[in-house]
């Protein structure tokens, strides 16, 4: 694996970005109690003595969250320790029920992993320094006044989220552009969805903090990919918080990159500070001008004995990951890179594609899954997971097309749309709409009738008018209820007229 050398001049500034990505792990219950993680209708509905931090309540580890973490560790080729343990991170905040957060400190469940990404055709490897498990705090709603925690009239606290399992994934400062960050987040969330541990659609399931600094070109020797720690530490960096999407990350960091570049070019110093990404205004705003080094007084959480996970890495298996599958699809099914990417972006899509392509023409299967099915679903604002119980029907519809029982046009415009809109199965729609391909005799009779009924159009065709032939095709299609193949009708008409 060779990384492309970043081009730079002596006076250039090189952008350096590192990420802390928080993802919500898909478990049925919270990480330290039995409360559901499903969104609730009312605030403070999914709560119990444990996640409310009532006096005397104790945490019990949800091993499902640990299993998810081990899956992630395998996917990013991380070191997984023999035992995993938890620490308390002590700080006061109104959304924190115990005023400490149970998290991992010096022995994270994953260390020294990596993830490969492709940016503008180049492959790059991003180092993942660590990934650890922790509990989510609750959420705050500031009411009245200035709307912030220090300026609101009052603040409401909702603990439904408190105790939802999170994985915090920390990368090395390996990114040199906001576009790389976006590509990484896309790849990461794709991988997590493949592992079945993450749902991108879930509200608040992805939260990103990014550290960005600009390093003067003259301080870098050799490849800008490999910047020494001295140069990194010498540069002031800003931490951008409140990013919740791939696109948001790219926009926020592009803004921050420009802001820092402009400041440096005008001779102003970059302050080491935390900035808040204001999505609606498209800018970053300073949160605290003076950044104090926080002291979280970490120490071991004695209520949770160390959990032995030494054997889990072998016992837990993970599916083929999107990058590997993308390559295999190109080789095995002869797909273009674009089609392969589209078909592998979600595991459910790729699984369905393979199911169809094994039996029918892989190109036809690709068109039907990537273009027709995903297109219609996208148009309806839904996705494949919402129609999982209908995929067998879609498969039968594709079979009808492959076996030339119905036309592709009818299959898509009448059958697929009818299936999605009205919930009917394909066979019902085909027979109700009488879409079964008509026999040749019937088409031939319709062609002859159309010629007989429309002498003027026939004369125009003989005179070389192409519009007239389309008119005649329309007549035939009408007579056959749309079940004839338009190309075939065109050929038959010409044969009849031109003799």
């Amino acid at each position: 694996m060779t990384a492309r050398t970043v081009q730079r001049g002596e006076d250039d500034l090189v952008t350096v970005i590192g990420l802390e990505v928080h993802v919500q792990l898909e478990t049925a219950t919270k990480i330290f109690c039995g409360c559901p993680t499903e969104p609730a209708d009312e605030p403070n509905e999914n709560v119990c003595p444990v996640c409310l931090g009532l006096p005397g309540a104790l945490p019990v580890l949800n091993e499902g969250a640990v299993e998810s973490a081990v899956r992630i560790g395998k996917a990013i080729d991380a070191t997984i320790p023999e035992e995993t343990r938890f620490h308390r991170k002590n700080y006061y905040y109104p959304d924190l029920p115990k005023n400490f957060q149970i998290t991992q400190y010096d022995e994270p469940i994953c260390a020294d992993g990596e993830l490969e990404i492709t940016v503008e055709g180049d492959r790059r490897t991003v180092t993942i320094e660590r990934a650890h498990l922790e509990e989510d705090p609750g959420s705050l709603q500031h009411v009245g006044g200035g709307g912030g925690i220090d300026s609101a009239e009052y603040t409401l606290v909702d603990y439904n989220r408190a105790g939802v399992p999170l994985m915090e994934i920390v990368t090395a400062p390996d990114f040199r552009s906001p576009a790389e960050v976006r590509a990484f987040l896309a790849e990461l969330t794709e991988v997590l969805e493949y592992l079945g541990v993450f749902d991108a659609e879930r509200d608040g399931s992805l939260r990103v903090d990014a550290n960005l600094s600009m390093i003067p070109g003259e301080e870098i020797e050799g490849d800008a990919r490999e910047i020494g720690t001295d140069a990194l530490e010498a540069a002031n960096r800003t931490e951008v918080k409140n990013i919740s999407s791939h696109r948001g990350a790219e926009k926020a960091l592009a803004y921050e990159e420009t802001r820092q570049k402009n400041a440096i070019e005008r001779g102003r110093a970059i302050e080491q500070e935390t900035r808040h990404w204001d999505e609606s205004r498209g800018i970053t705003v300073s949160m605290r001008s003076k950044e104090e080094e926080k002291d979280y007084r970490y120490f071991e959480e004695a209520d949770l004995p160390p959990l032995r996970v030494a054997d889990w890495k072998e016992e837990i298996s993970i599916p083929e990951l999107p990058s590997a599958r993308r390559e295999r699809f190109q080789g095995e099914y002869g797909l273009s890179e674009e089609a392969a990417s589209k078909l592998t972006s979600r595991k459910e899509v790729a699984d369905f594609y393979e199911d169809v392509a094994r039996e029918y023409d892989p190109d036809l299967a690709a068109t039907w899954v990537a273009d027709e099915l995903l297109g219609e679903l996208n148009y309806r604002g839904t996705e494949i997971t919402a129609v999982e119980d209908r995929l067998a029907e879609v498969r039968r519809l594709i079979a009808l097309v492959a076996d030339e029982e119905i036309t592709a046009k009818n299959a898509k415009e009448v059958v697929l749309r009818g299936m999605l809109d009205d919930g009917d199965d394909p066979e019902t729609i085909v027979s109700r709409e009488d879409l079964g391909k008509t026999d040749e005799g019937e088409v031939q009779r319709a062609v002859e009738e159309a010629i007989e009924d429309n002498p003027e159009a026939v004369a125009d065709v003989e005179g070389g008018d192409d519009g007239a032939i389309n008119f005649l095709v329309g007549q035939v299609m009408g007579k056959t209820g749309g079940s004839a193949d338009p190309g075939e009708v065109n050929r038959l008409l010409r044969a009849e007229i031109e003799g």
């Binding site: 003595p49 006096p55 104790l58 005023n99 120490f299």
Partner: protein
């Protein structure tokens, strides 16, 4: 109302069960659904838990009747029950003196006959100290034998809920009910699942080797030492053998204990901020000021002192110097106990190096009070079981004998101690 209780309210259990017809007093840091649980603090003076601690469910299931919630040092922080927001409890067998602490109300209730049995909690001696001072039996179980679910934490790596009774057999019967694994406490172990501790109270000490750690007799009150030695003589008369053993690291135990206990307390007590339950100050200003005012008003002197000490011990720059060193010391203490228990079946010492203090005597000198825990805190550092059993009296004041056993060696301790009470 008896000064042993903060709240006198009956909670009836099942009609049948091993404790049917018996009354139990419960320390006020053990959660009881619908009955306020104050921890002896203004902070929780009005707090009513919505759930029962696991031990309370087990009491009800065993047919016991809870008669009330007993007085205690605030959040378990003290050895006299005088730091309670609700005032002191007088020692029923030594008028004008403290009952010991922090579970002083529980020991006093049993000593005064106001309850047949009682539950306390022992973080650094809080069951054994009041048992010794009130002339009753108290057991500190092995860490992990009894569920802590519902016990309001002071120092969660050190503490266990333990039983009091007038006799060893009584206390053992209560231990049978509360011991055993619990899905709600991940630190519990299965060793107590099918226990039969009460059966072990046979008084048979024939052939038992009792190790006597010289360090735990040094500096103790003369009368206390004499009474303890006399009790050991009684055990020898009944066939036990004593031999001297040494616990060299024990000199660091009190320091290590206070660093670890206060560090954990600084975190465990952080949740009391007035947002969800408990005292909430009328405060102007931002949330930080509101939290500060609530905690200023809700906590007493000793609790604030320990939270400050613990916060300091965990702080960047001091963590390695205090907290990490204390953990090292804890490991040495454990090793020393392991070696000593290879030479002897159980270890023996005075439970408390002094007889009960006079009321008010120790409040002005917290360091003196901390040092009085010298014989009890090492056991918590080592996660081991121990029992305090009445050894006799000195100048009319009760003296307790402490027996210490190997992890999950409760039966052995009960057998030995039952020779005396």
């Amino acid at each position: 109302m008896s000064d042993a209780f903060i709240t006198e309210e009956r909670i009836e259990g099942r009609d049948e069960g091993p404790l049917a017809g018996r009354t139990v007093a419960v320390k006020d840091n053990i959660s009881t659904a619908g009955v306020r649980t104050t921890c002896g603090s203004r902070m929780l003076a009005e707090y009513v838990p919505p759930y029962d601690a696991t031990v309370v469910s087990r009491l009800k299931e065993a047919g016991a009747t809870v008669v009330g919630k007993t007085n205690m040092d605030e959040f378990g922080m003290g050895s006299t029950t005088e730091t309670s927001h609700f005032g002191p409890t007088e020692n029923p067998v030594a008028p004008g003196r403290v009952p010991g602490g922090s579970s002083g109300g529980s020991a006093a209730a049993v000593a005064a006959g106001e309850a047949d049995l009682a539950l306390g909690s022992d973080t650094g001696g809080s069951v054994r100290c009041p048992a010794a001072f009130c002339g009753v039996v108290g057991i500190k179980p092995t860490y992990g034998l009894v569920s802590r679910y519902g016990l309001v934490a002071y120092a969660n790596s050190l503490e266990q809920i333990g039983p009091f009774g007038e006799t060893v057999a009584d206390a053992a019967a209560l231990l049978d009910v509360i011991a055993g694994s619990d899905d709600r406490d991940a630190t519990t172990r299965t060793e107590g699942d099918d226990s039969s501790y009460a059966d072990a109270a046979t008084g048979d000490v024939e052939g038992l080797t009792i190790g006597v750690p010289t360090e735990l007799f040094e500096g103790a009150d003369e009368g206390v030492v004499e009474t303890t030695r006399a009790a050991l003589g009684e055990l020898e008369d009944r066939g036990a053998e004593t031999r001297e053993v040494s616990l060299p690291s024990i000199e660091h135990a009190v320091e290590a204990y206070y660093v670890i206990a206060t560090s954990e307390a600084s975190s465990n007590l952080a949740r009391f901020d007035g947002v969800r339950y408990g005292h909430s100050a009328e405060a102007e200003g931002n949330w930080n000021e509101a939290f500060g005012r609530t905690r200023e008003e809700g906590f007493g002197e000793e609790v604030k002192r320990r939270i400050l000490l613990g916060t300091y011990a965990l702080s960047a720059g001091y963590h390695d110097k205090y907290y990490a060193k204390a953990q090292d010391a804890r490991a040495w203490v454990k090793q020393d106990f392991d070696s000593a228990l290879e030479e002897a079946d159980v270890l023996a010492s005075p439970t408390m190096p002094v007889p009960p203090f006079e009321l008010g005597e120790s409040l002005d000198d917290p360091l003196q009070m901390y040092l009085a825990d010298a014989n009890t805190v090492p056991v918590n550092l080592a996660d081991l079981p121990a029992i305090s059993v009445p050894a006799g009296e000195t100048d009319g004041l009760p003296v307790g004998l402490q027996l210490i056993g190997p992890a999950f060696g409760e039966r052995r301790l009960i057998r030995a101690a039952s020779a005396l009470a």
